[in-house]
Symmetry: C2
Subunit: 267 residues, 2 copies
């Protein structure tokens, strides 16, 4: 078979166009596959997933394994953003006490500093705060099922974990912090001591950074900062029943391997 | 330029391989791009998003607007899969009652049938069930912040809704159902009446379809089905404080425009 110079050139151009086509489609498919992989990362390796932007901290330390219960509890308190604050209802009281669970955003510190203490913006207009005036004992309940996108553990997803996944599945960890709800004295309060002022500043930063819209609560709501003085930590992250986590062990633990804030790059 | 028959065949084979390569990479990149697009749908248009598979029902009716409070409450009870069941603690009782909030999966019906009644699998081994033996009043607390992926409303996302988004932001709806926790009599119970048997069958189907792993609870846990006999519905889905939803209005409402189950195609 003989080709003229012109035919040879056309063949060369075709080959060139085909090569460019292959390179472009290969790059496209690699990029989309990589991005898709990023969005599908499992909870263990999810460091930079796309949906992670749905949390107020851009980088979240890896979830500690179930054997390290105090650390896992600290991870939940530092990573999760809201929980159910249960109080004894004053609105529905009858012969016997009636519980009332309400949604509260909280923060135990800015992204790079975890205290383990749940702080909350609150207002006396809210039903829960009316309740705690009568009885200040509350519980704050958290579940890993609250996580969204690639951070949501397969254990918490119905049908996940080979069919065993469910928000009520014990390996989808749940944490119940019980204690006394206390108002923090604002620095403007004359009776406020130095230590109180430092705690208020930390708590205010913790909340303003991670719940900025709550910091915009109207002044006529008379917003204040509250915290839970923990008395009891009830925790399930595996089959076999609940664990009561020792308070000292809880406060000594760190949500991440290296400690949050020690090395921002490493978390 | 002259080519031998052999060279021509090699060229043809090359061209064929190249064509197949282009077709395969194009299909791959289109598929991954389409899937990725599915995962990125915003909450308003999310009808068939990939992440929606994280809910046990493949199709979810559109979220009713805030003005339709009974319908929005019914939508939350039918769409959400878990909540916090608060009881009066027997483990931590002191001078004054102490609340205890625990994670419970629930279902008000299979995907195509909503009853508005929260049913739950439970076991007397669980702390909450020990509590309700002493005081059966409970609250079940739900938040739209529980939704994942494209269904998670922007109002619930920190930094969403032009900076006002937060799980505690009132337009991120929250619902507190309060009432008496009751065990359903299983059909094997001789004293069980016809109506009881029908309700048990409905509740069992509601739970087994939407929480299949809970239906596998070991027999030695003596699982049973419980429900909350609703007495009070406290609801916030907008600024301006809570609404108490009338029980009759709640039961008369439907989670979707057309009523779930009336027309499966339309939801």
């Amino acid at each position: 078979v003989c080709l003229s110079k012109g035919e040879e050139n056309i063949n060369r151009r075709r080959a060139l166009l085909v090569s460019i086509g292959i390179v472009v489609t290969t790059i496209l498919s690699l990029v989309t596959a990589a991005r898709r992989h990023g969005a599908m990362l499992d909870s263990e390796s999810a460091g930079r997933g796309l949906d992670q932007l749905r949390l107020s901290c851009p980088n979240v330390p890896a979830r500690p394994p179930y054997a390290e219960k105090a650390r896992r509890a600290r991870w939940m308190v530092h990573t999760l953003e809201w929980g159910v604050l249960s109080s004894i209802s004053t609105r529905l009281s009858g012969d016997a006490p009636v519980p009332f669970g309400n949604i509260y955003s909280f923060s135990d510190g800015p992204c790079d500093a975890s205290s383990g203490v749940p702080y909350m913006f609150a207002s006396d207009l809210d039903q829960s705060m009316k309740d705690i005036k009568e009885n200040s004992m509350v519980s704050l309940t958290l579940s890993e099922a609250e996580l969204s996108g690639p951070l949501l553990p397969d254990e918490c997803v119905v049908g996940g974990q080979k069919g065993y996944g469910d928000p009520e599945n014990p390996p989808c960890a749940r944490l119940v912090l019980t204690g006394e709800f206390l108002k923090l004295s604002p620095p403007s309060d004359d009776s406020s001591e130095h230590g109180d002022k430092k705690e208020w500043e930390f708590a205010h930063q913790a909340l303003a950074k991670r719940h900025p819209s709550m910091a915009k609560m109207p002044a006529n709501h008379k917003p204040f900062i509250g915290k839970i003085l923990l008395r009891d930590i009830w925790f399930i992250d595996m089959y076999g029943g609940a664990t009561i986590i020792d308070l000292d062990e809880y406060y000594a633990a760190s949500p991440s391997d290296e400690g949050v804030g020690d090395d921002e790059e490493s978390v």
